[in-house]
């Protein structure tokens, strides 16, 4: 199989969906000639033209809301939010409109739209361009929330997101964009709501999201040399959450480490820990659940501080050693 980047995988899914279905179109800031802030839509303007690769004014509320209105009336819009931090401007349309319309209207209309947006730190973009805010939308009934970590998952999940009849929040990660992986040519679907065991292991279930999956896999290599065999579980979708795969993994290993980049307090790591302790996996725990997550601070600019603000490979290694050393 050929190897492509995460960025290319996202672009491929978009292009394939647009070739197949006239009602799919993209709108967002600088997605045309510029190709998007991270180059995801590069070259798409040339193939699909400015009507379907729709460069917008800097108006996040109008972008999100236009997607809602287009979706209600028969289109399948995909809007790009240049940085996930900018969701603050678009949130009314996402939370009060898109998420609620299907229910509020008695199921009489669906809202097939996708919001794609990059989150996460690690690029020196500082406090207003580096947050991991996916939990905000995961909190809202009516939204589907996806956080793919690999190129393969990104393409298959984006196809599923575009085909889905609900508002789907698709959180990419800036550091994932350049990662490479085996990706099939042509359209394929990864079902929404199915977690993936990225590395099987027997000692600790490391439930990691987004770019933390890569860090957990790196940590696994180091730990393997010490005889610690961790299982890396990637939920892939936060809503709906594949609780069974997580619970089964913890039942097998008896230990759970949750790793997210988002701030620990009231973040999705809390939800993952709660699921493990509420479900039958609780009876299998040999050690309290451990969470590694973002420091409760805005993301700083200076590189050393920036790294300190979110879990790193070493933190995962250390946490796993501690868990295994405990009696």
């Amino acid at each position: 199989m050929r190897e492509i980047t995460y960025t290319e995988a996202v672009r491929e899914a978009l292009s394939e969906a647009m070739r197949e279905d006239e009602s799919v179109f993209i709108l967002g800031e600088d997605i045309g000639i510029y190709g998007g802030a991270f180059g995801v839509t590069r070259g798409m303007l040339e193939e699909f033209g400015p009507k379907r690769i729709r460069h917008t004014p800097i108006s996040e509320s109008a972008i999100a809301g236009a997607a809602v209105g287009a979706a209600i009336t028969g289109m399948r819009p995909v809007f790009e939010l240049q940085f996930s931090d900018f969701i603050t401007i678009a949130l009314d349309q996402i939370v009060n409109q898109a998420a609620k319309i299907h229910y509020m209207y008695g199921g009489n209309v669906s809202i097939p739209l996708v919001m794609r947006t990059p989150g996460g730190s690690g690029t020196g973009a500082a406090a207003q361009h580096s947050q991991s805010l996916e939990n905000w939308t995961a909190h809202i009934p009516g939204l589907i929330v996806i956080q793919p970590s690999t190129a393969y998952d990104a393409k298959g999940l984006l196809h599923s997101a575009i085909a889905n009849n609900n508002p789907v929040m698709f959180y990419e990660h800036k550091l994932c964009y350049r990662t490479k992986g085996d990706v099939p040519e042509g359209k394929y679907f990864i079902p929404i709501g199915v977690a993936d065991i990225k590395r099987p292991g027997k000692d600790i279930s490391v439930i990691a999201t987004s770019y933390m999956v890569h860090k957990a896999l790196e940590a696994a290599e180091i730990l393997a040399l010490e005889g610690i065999d961790i299982e890396v579980v990637d939920p892939r979708t936060l809503v709906p959450l594949d609780k069974k795969t997580i619970v089964d993994s913890v039942k097998k290993t008896g230990r759970a480490l949750v790793v997210t980049e988002a701030v620990k307090r009231s973040g999705f790591s809390s939800e993952l820990a709660a699921v493990i302790s509420e479900e039958e996996s609780f009876d299998y725990l040999d050690h309290p659940i451990v969470r590694l997550a973002g420091a409760e601070t805005p993301i700083p600019y200076e590189p050393t501080l920036e790294k300190l603000a979110v879990p790193q490979v070493d933190d995962i290694v250390t946490a796993c050693r501690k868990i295994m050393a405990a009696k």
Partner: protein, 329 residues
């Protein structure tokens, strides 16, 4: 001897009498709803459009069935005009499964996709971007539909207003922004919350036509909306209409109206009642008699009573409805 009431939409006598009937129907609907709320027979809250009937009927009458509207939280009149079944509206207020939204939306969220009503909105200014999106669909699919976006005066200070008017203008979207300026955003007089005389002047900033009209003059509303709709349908882009009007009732069901005087209210009710004034015009033109007007009112009252009976006969949602329709298939 009759004379014609000239209007740009070319409505004939029958159509104008139908517009009068609709205004009466809306007022009776609202008064009935007001009564039920006062009696505690409907729960939640509601925002009534008594006094604003000409704005709703004059604008909505110009639309085709296939056109869309986005309505406001004060949207019963807009919804009735677009063609939603009054029975289903009343049932919705009663929280019945026979309601427009199966009892899950209530007054602020009545939607009826089949008649092109993309929904009322509980968020001030929430409908602007959605209307742009609907208009974008029409443009991309090359249909000749347009979207009439209703909004209130207070919403013109929301960011969504400015973002949407700009977007609609640069893309020449087939949308008409129709502001019902009823003078107050809850308690805030619009003259204290903007520093301009006419809200329509904001259109200049976005490079689109803007017009301020007497929103209580049915013919003026028809004319302005007709021009804007034609322009949108021809692909020439959006228009901003400001219809100056007045809401007779409070903002919602609990409003002591301390922010305005009883004299001011009285002036609007006696001198600027859109229904009485249009009725006088129809009579003067020889198109309507007092007796015919009485008959129209009686029939409208009957329609409302039937709607109440329909609503009362409906069933409450089963408990399993709580977790139904959160996600689409």
């Amino acid at each position: 001897m009759t004379m014609t009431l000239v209007n740009k939409a070319g409505f004939n006598d029958q159509q104008l009498i139908e517009a009068y009937r609709k205004m009466c129907l809306i007022r009776l609907f609202e008064e009935k709803v007001d009564y039920f709320f006062a009696k505690g027979m409907i729960h939640g809250t509601t925002h009534l459009c008594v006094g604003q009937e000409a704005a709703a009927v004059g604008s909505g009458s110009v639309l085709r069935h296939s056109d869309w509207i986005t309505a406001t939280h004060r949207g019963h009149g807009q919804t009735i005009t677009k063609g939603t079944d009054i029975n289903k509206m009343m049932a919705e207020l009663f929280g019945k499964t026979s309601g427009t939204n199966k009892g899950k939306g209530g007054s602020m969220h009545i939607a009826d996709i089949a008649t092109g009503n993309l929904g009322a909105n509980g968020v001030v200014g929430g409908g602007y971007p959605i209307a742009c999106g609907a208009a974008l669909t029409a443009q991309m699919k090359h249909t000749d539909q347009i979207c009439l976006c209703y909004a209130g005066d207070g919403s013109t200070n929301e960011g969504s207003f400015h973002e949407s008017l700009n977007m609609a203008s640069i893309w020449k979207l087939p949308v008409v922004f129709f502001i019902e300026n009823n003078q107050y955003g809850m308690s805030g007089p619009i003259k204290e919350t903007v520093n301009i005389q006419d809200l329509s002047t904001r259109a200049v900033s976005y490079g689109m036509p803007g017009i301020t009209i007497d929103g209580n003059d049915l013919i003026a509303v028809i004319d302005a909306t007709y021009d804007a709709v034609e322009r949108a349908r021809k692909g020439e882009g959006p228009t901003l209409i400001e219809a100056k009007t007045y809401r007779w009732k409070g903002h919602s069901k609990s409003d002591a109206k301390k922010y305005r005087t009883r004299e001011e209210e009285e002036m609007w009710k006696t001198e600027r009642d859109p229904i009485a004034n249009f009725k006088a015009k129809l009579i003067q033109a020889g198109l309507l008699s007092e007796a015919q007007s009485e008959e129209i009112l009686a029939k409208a009252a009957e329609v409302i009573e039937n709607a109440v009976a329909f609503a009362e006969a409906g069933s409450k949602p089963d408990v399993d409805q709580l977790m139904t329709d959160i996600y689409a298939e």
